[in-house]
């Protein structure tokens, strides 16, 4: 049922689109979304490119995985980096996570969307992730400046999506709206969907910072006084920029073990994303500004 609903939404989006695109973050939700898009249009490849906003601070394993998966699915892969912040001008170490996110993610995404002229933008957002998302429509209208207007959302009746954009703007479309983290994992297991190995527990080099485990993925990461890299058995519940994504200690190195861990968890997955803690209603505000 979840699968059929998601496929229906993806097809509605593509049928309405002039220039569709799928935001691809390389995480498990993106993996599921890509898999569903492949199913929706099989035997044709998904009729839309993948767009990855590369902050240049992703885990190396993520980038390798991205290139492999795009090739295998025969989809076009668009990669965009905000040139303003490239070459080390804006990094998670030299700037606050709020500013860094604004430049390297939010602004970069706006640039890429404007450049591509995309009108239907598929994202892997789930309503269980965060409170303002719980209120967002499946077809969520954004104005020409990519702003969300939470007070003026279009009513969304039955499975009839009003996909008209006569007056400009675009839609962020969330086929996974009604999925939970556990649903995602069960589906990955049932369909045997490839995911980045970082989700599985393994010995990795990490440091303790701000009470969390941060992986030392390359030598760009400056160590603070007293920080000693050490080997720990860890895995990631969510993937992003390595300096901003905390690992959890875990021994779950199979899908079954991960699912068992997720079902027993008492911390929500976004906790591993450091940007969410920046302030009251932070996600809603970021979204109004165009972060997806």
């Amino acid at each position: 049922m979840l699968e059929s609903e998601a496929i229906e939404i993806i097809r509605e989006g593509v049928a309405a689109a002039t220039r569709p695109v799928m935001l691809y973050s390389i995480g498990k939700d993106s993996s599921v979304l890509l898999h569903l898009a492949r199913k929706a249009f099989w035997p044709a490849p998904p009729p839309m490119p993948l767009l990855h906003v590369d902050t240049t601070w992703k885990f190396r394993e993520m980038i390798a995985f991205r290139d492999r998966v795009a090739a295998e699915a025969s989809v076009e892969l668009l990669v965009h980096t905000n040139s303003e912040g490239a070459d080390g001008a804006v990094t998670p170490f030299t700037h606050g996570s709020d500013y860094y996110t604004e430049v390297m993610k939010t602004a970069a995404l706006r640039q890429a969307l404007d450049a591509g002229g995309f009108d239907i933008i598929f994202v892997g957002a789930r309503r269980d992730e965060e409170k303002s998302r719980a209120k967002e429509r499946v077809f969520s209208f954004r104005d020409a400046a990519h702003q969300w207007h939470p007070k003026a959302q279009r009513p969304e009746l039955w499975n009839l999506y009003n996909t008209r954009l006569d007056a400009g703007g675009s839609f962020r479309v969330s086929p996974l709206s009604n999925w939970t983290e556990a649903d995602i994992w069960r589906y990955i297991a049932a369909e045997d969907i490839p995911i980045v190995p970082l989700y599985y527990a393994a010995e990795r080099t990490v440091v303790r910072r701000g009470g969390q485990w941060i992986m030392v993925d390359d030598d760009r990461m400056p160590l603070l006084p007293g920080e000693v890299p050490q080997r720990r058995r860890v895995r990631f519940r969510t993937l992003g920029c390595y300096p901003l994504t905390a690992a959890v200690e875990s021994t779950a190195d199979t899908l079954d073990a991960i699912i068992a861990e997720v079902l027993a968890a008492d911390r929500s997955e976004r906790e591993g994303r450091l940007i969410d803690h920046d302030g009251e209603a932070s996600m809603e505000r970021k979204k109004r500004e165009g972060y997806f």
Partner: protein, 607 residues
């Protein structure tokens, strides 16, 4: 995977919905420690519980809502118990957010209607119940909340339940399960309460976990609205869609509606393998043999039991637009995967939401419910909403803003002739026109200002009169001097202008005349509205076509020049659109043809 129950939670503001959801989430261990911690922090800032954790803050997500302490938009939550998976829509209580409430209810199998035990059944409770019933929810639970504040008074509970059952029965909800609860304390939510030994029924969660849902009838005929035509290469053509009802297997005979072509199912494609069956709810891709022509918006259906096709309907409407609904105003309509022009031909009545009485109405305002007659620009496959949510529910979209202006459910199709002949007299239209030795009809000339409508209309009428025909010419400008003197150029007035002219033309055709209408009539839906008033064949849509530059150059009355200078507002072609006819009966290119040649073409078509 566990079966999913989708439910909507509704009630007036402050009845305790958010608290109830927070409690259900907590008591069924769905809240992560960090989320609870966040709610505790928020409680100190915004909470209504004097610093104690306000569970409503687990779900009230938008900044405005937290600041005002009300819920403005529907929030969705997923929770799981060992027996079922629930998608809970927490719907806003305020009347001004009714459209968001309808959004939440439309996908639900079951509604939990909350009332505050102290306040009882409010007008808003009745409104919600009516909307819930209208969008197709058949199971209703009445949760009488804040029982702790009335000392768990049994008599009061029973009185409330009885009062509510009357309301529910009146809107067509047969069975109501009533449960006395306290969202604050959790009594009778997830565990039976010691306070209510007299309550033999289940707890709320217990009921939600076990209630039997009406299963879709097994013997429903197969229907699949086509969403997308998948054509990667010349060898493969697949029709993608979600099965709306019934089941299908390779070899089954199909009919493609509305065209009526037939074919059989060659294969059912799902991912790398094909499947030997699909049923209601499945998203699939079908290939057909022979490979007939199918487009998005068509319905592939069982050949021995295809859907009805019609272009006029009686429907229930819930209005969601800031601009009121008036008869004659053109909209886009989405019905399953099909998008067509639509116009409400008449508002039958408005429903008083508190007592259900039917009131005469000229318009439906925001949040109004009513019944209307509706005409679409072409025939569409459908089913009455009672039989199928998928083929009987629709939305109306504002053409200018693209906003969703209303939602509706089809009750039944209207027969065109039944709709037109409102009273039988001994002397019929046929008799009247036979006496004049002619076939009465309406020749509707549409086109930009200065495209040549008046010139063609004038010469056409002269030619007809010379041939001994009885005619009348209705000209846009002239009519505005008399019949429509009271109308301006606002959108409702333009719509009314067209409506009157079309009705007058219909009366004159009924009187046996050949009526020539010369009207810019820029919107397809307006012309479709006019067409719908006539018997098929009695209406000819004639497109007097000349490019905008040519019309602006001709400009016999200097109007384009004025419009370009901004002295006239909403001038068609300049700052107001002209929709070229989608399928005119005749198109006259006045850049190439002389007026005489145009008249000759019309005469030829009439012969």
């Amino acid at each position: 995977m566990r079966p999913t129950l989708r439910l909507v939670l509704c009630g007036s503001v402050d009845d305790g919905k958010s608290t109830l959801i927070g409690r259900l989430l907590c008591d069924s261990n769905q809240v992560f420690a960090d989320q609870l911690q966040k709610a505790e922090e928020d409680s100190r800032r915004y909470g209504t519980q004097a610093g104690a954790t306000d569970l409503a803050l687990l779900t009230d997500g938008l900044q405005d809502e937290r600041e005002q302490g009300i819920t403005i938009d529907v929030a969705y939550r997923v929770l799981e118990t060992p027996l079922r998976r629930f998608v809970v829509a927490d719907a806003p209580g305020h009347e001004q957010y009714t459209r968001n409430m309808a959004t939440g209810a439309s996908t639900a199998d079951l509604a939990v209607v909350m009332v505050d035990a102290r306040k009882g059944v409010l007008p808003q409770t009745a409104r919600h119940t009516r909307i819930v019933a209208m969008v197709g929810v058949r199971h209703v639970v009445l949760a009488v909340n804040k029982m702790d504040l009335i000392g768990w008074d049994r008599a009061r509970f029973e009185e409330l339940a009885e009062e509510y059952r009357t309301v529910a029965a009146e809107v067509g909800v047969g069975e109501v399960v009533a449960i006395p609860v306290s969202a604050l304390t959790g009594d009778n939510l997830t565990r039976p309460s010691g306070q209510t030994p007299w309550h033999a029924g289940p707890t709320l969660l217990g009921h939600l976990e076990t209630v039997e849902l009406a299963r879709p009838a097994e013997d429903q005929p197969f229907r699949m609205p086509v969403q997308y035509v998948n054509r990667p290469d010349p060898d493969f053509r697949g029709y993608c869609g979600r099965v709306a009802s019934g089941r299908v297997a390779p070899g089954d005979r199909m009919l493609v509606s509305p065209a009526g072509t037939s074919a059989s199912v060659e294969s059912i494609v799902v991912w790398q393998d094909t499947s030997d069956r699909a049923e209601q709810g499945d998203s699939v891709t079908l290939t057909l043999k022979p490979d007939v022509d199918v487009s998005r918006g068509d319905v592939i259906a069982a050949a021995d039991d295809p859907p009805q096709v019609a272009d006029q309907f009686r429907a229930q409407i819930i209005w969601m637009g800031d601009e009121p609904l008036t008869a004659g105003r053109p909209y886009r309509m989405r019905l399953h995967t099909c998008e067509v022009g639509a116009v409400v031909t008449s508002i039958r009545h408005r429903v008083d939401v508190s007592d259900g009485s039917k009131l005469a109405a000229a318009r439906l305002e925001l949040n109004d419910l009513g019944a209307v007659n509706l005409a679409t620009s072409r025939p569409v496959p459908f089913a009455p909403f009672e039989q199928s949510r998928e083929l009987g529910g629709f939305i109306l979209i504002d053409r200018a803003t693209s906003a969703t202006a209303g939602a509706g459910t089809i009750a039944y199709a209207l027969m065109r002739s039944a709709n037109v002949k409102w009273q039988d007299f001994d002397i019929s239209a046929d008799v009247r026109s036979a006496l004049k030795s002619q076939r009465a009809r309406c020749l509707w000339l549409t086109g930009l200002s200065a495209s040549g409508k008046s010139t063609v209309a004038n010469q056409l009428e002269r030619r007809l009169v010379i041939e001994g025909r009885h005619t009348y010419l209705l000209d846009g400008d002239n009519v505005r001097h008399g019949l429509n003197r009271d109308l301006g150029f606002t959108e409702p007035d333009r719509v009314e202008n067209i409506r009157r002219v079309a009705e007058v033309a219909r009366l004159m055709v009924d009187a046996g005349l050949i009526v020539i209408v010369s009207f810019i009539s820029p919107f397809q839906a307006e012309r479709d509205f006019a067409r719908a008033l006539f018997d098929p064949g009695d209406f000819m849509e004639i497109f007097v076509d000349a490019p905008l530059e040519v019309c602006a150059r001709r400009d016999p009355k200097g109007l384009y020049a004025k419009a370009m200078r901004g002295e006239i507002k909403n001038f068609t072609g300049v700052d107001s659109p002209f929709e070229r006819p989608e399928r005119p009966d005749l198109r006259l290119d006045t850049e190439r043809l002389s007026p005489e040649e145009c008249v000759a073409l019309i005469m030829e078509r009439m012969a």
